[in-house]
Amino acid sequence: MRILEKTLIYIALGIIIAWSLMPIYWTINVSLKTGLEVYEVFSTRFSIENYVRLFREDFQRYLISTIYLASLTTIISLALAIPASYSLSKLPLSDKLRRGFLVWTLFSRTMPPIVLIIPLYVMFSQLRISDNLTAVAIAYQVYTLPFSIWMLMGFYRETPREVEEAAMVDGAGPLAIMTRILVPMIMPGIVVTAIFSILMSWNEFLYAVILLQSLKNYTVSLIIASYISEWGVKWGEMAAAGIVSSLPMLLFTAYVQKYMVLGFMRRD
């Protein structure tokens, strides 16, 4: 019985693993082959022609735009969230304000992005800042800021009180405590938060497709989406672009997978 059970379990897992890997494997396959060889599973005729074509068509420009966008978004979020979380977790504040922030962080996580974008779009165009990566970075704060605040608050709360108290005894003010003592202590947490902001901006699609029009401002998501156009899918480029754009993020994601635990469970 034992052996039968075990075999069945391995078979089931095998099927699930195959199912998980199949699209990824296939995409890599399509990206490395041209023409009809795509279907020859064991053909060894690989070619990096798709990748070459990708970069000849200026793909690096979209990578750079996306890096710019992700960086700017994260810098803004962290610059605002680090002090705000500090204040919310360590300093005296009106209860209502604290409650308000809490509700905002939860609320923004459940809100569908499309609901907010139309007034933002109208306002951005009236302010003449449409088709502009900086404006998109601000729009992204809708999600990255509350999330960063929530995450950092958790990290701040874990720091031991004694360190702060010692510093206060030495006459340090709250700002100094934050910058000289706490921020270095929660640096790992800051990095994790930053990575999530980067991931979110890198992978985002809806706001980008609405707020950006010129090809020169396109992010990687938009350019891959454009390969699925009405003129015919450019299969090779699409597959290659998908792989290239995912690689950096795969590394980041793999790293923070360790932190994928139930945040809510720890409250119970």
Binding site: K6, I9, L13, I16, I17, S20, L21, M22, P23, I24, W26, V38, Y39, L80, A84, Y86, S87, P92, L93, L97, F101, V103, L106, F107, T110, M111, P112, I114, V115, L116, I118, P119, L120, V122, M123, I138, L145, G173, P174, W202, E204, L206, S221, I228, V233, W235, M238, A239, G242, S246, L250, T253, A254, Q257, M260, V261, L262, F264, M265, R267
Partner: protein, 284 residues
């Protein structure tokens, strides 16, 4: 005193940005929904609840609500059940967990645009891998994304591929948190594995199941990217979702008033679902 004002100053920029990016748009949506506003024709006049009435009379809007709800239920249930099954399987005494788990989680590490393009490679009628396999096995190829009956199901499939890993992770963590003693006691009592599962495992997993159901419902309700990229709402409007409807109405036809009304309705709907979630988290 000094400490007091510093605390507010530190919070101020975030507060300002929050008001700008969340509160303003919500008020904006409510405001615009009361007007007949079209960016291209320049029309801008107060029309009260007219936009809402038109919306509720628009068969496409009602279809989009129906499709969204159907998708949400189907995807959520499917992902919860599959996630649970996989978690139970992985939780058994098997070797190689260290390698299996990262592989299982791999699908969730790609952006939605990349996932959509990967599945377009799989499901395309002419050139997709799945139809190629079907044909070589002697079966008829299926119009996954181009048939009224199959399209929404295909989207459920893709979403399941992408998100079951997360459900799995949550359930797996849940299973890990069940104390061994309970299982040992069950073995001593001679309970069958089915009995153990239903009387120990499931009850202990209840909060996790609730969490997954809630999170996935909220998330699947927003469906936009996959349908925008792969089906455009077709065929015959069978994959038109609320988000897609709002997008087209407001940003393709420039009917800001109607799109805002639809946005507001969607906001109310999602609040209803997530009210549970928010209350629960606030209480803790």
């Amino acid at each position: 005193m000094k400490t007091g004002s510093i605390s507010y100053i530190l919070v101020l920029p975030s507060l300002a940005l929050m008001l700008f990016t969340t509160v303003y748009p919500i008020i904006g949506v409510l405001y615009y929904s009361l007007y007949s506003y079209n960016i291209v024709t320049g029309e801008f006049r107060f029309s009260g609840l007219n936009e809402y009435i038109e919306l509720l009379r628009d068969p496409l809007f009602l279809t989009s609500i129906r499709n969204t709800v159907m998708f949400s239920i189907a995807a959520t249930v499917l992902q919860t059940i599959l996630g649970l099954i996989i978690a139970v399987l992985v939780n058994q005494r098997i070797r190689g967990k260290r390698y299996i788990i990262p592989i299982l989680v791999l699908p969730n590490m790609f952006s939605v645009v990349v996932v959509s393009s990967m599945w377009k490679l799989m499901l395309d009628y002419e050139t997709g891998l799945i139809n190629h396999i079907l044909k070589s096995l002697g079966f008829q190829p299926l119009p996954w994304l181009t048939s009224m009956d199959l399209a929404l199901f295909s989207i459920v499939l893709i979403d399941t591929w992408q998100w079951t890993p997360i459900c799995f992770l949550i359930f797996y963590a849940g299973l890990q948190s069940i104390p061994r003693e309970l299982y040992e006691a069950a073995i001593v009592d001679g309970a069958s594995s089915v009995r153990t599962f239903t009387s120990i495992t499931l009850p202990m997993l209840k909060p996790y199941i609730a969490l997954v159901l809630l999170l996935r419902s909220i998330d699947t309700f927003r469906l936009f990217d996959k349908v925008y990229l792969l089906t455009g709402g077709g065929p015959a409007n069978s994959t038109e979702t609320i988000s897609l409807y709002i997008f087209k109405t407001g940003l393709v036809f420039w009917d800001i008033g109607k799109a805002s009304a639809a946005s507001f309705i969607m906001l109310i709907l999602i609040l209803a679902i997530s009210a549970l979630y928010i209350r629960r988290s606030i209480l803790s």
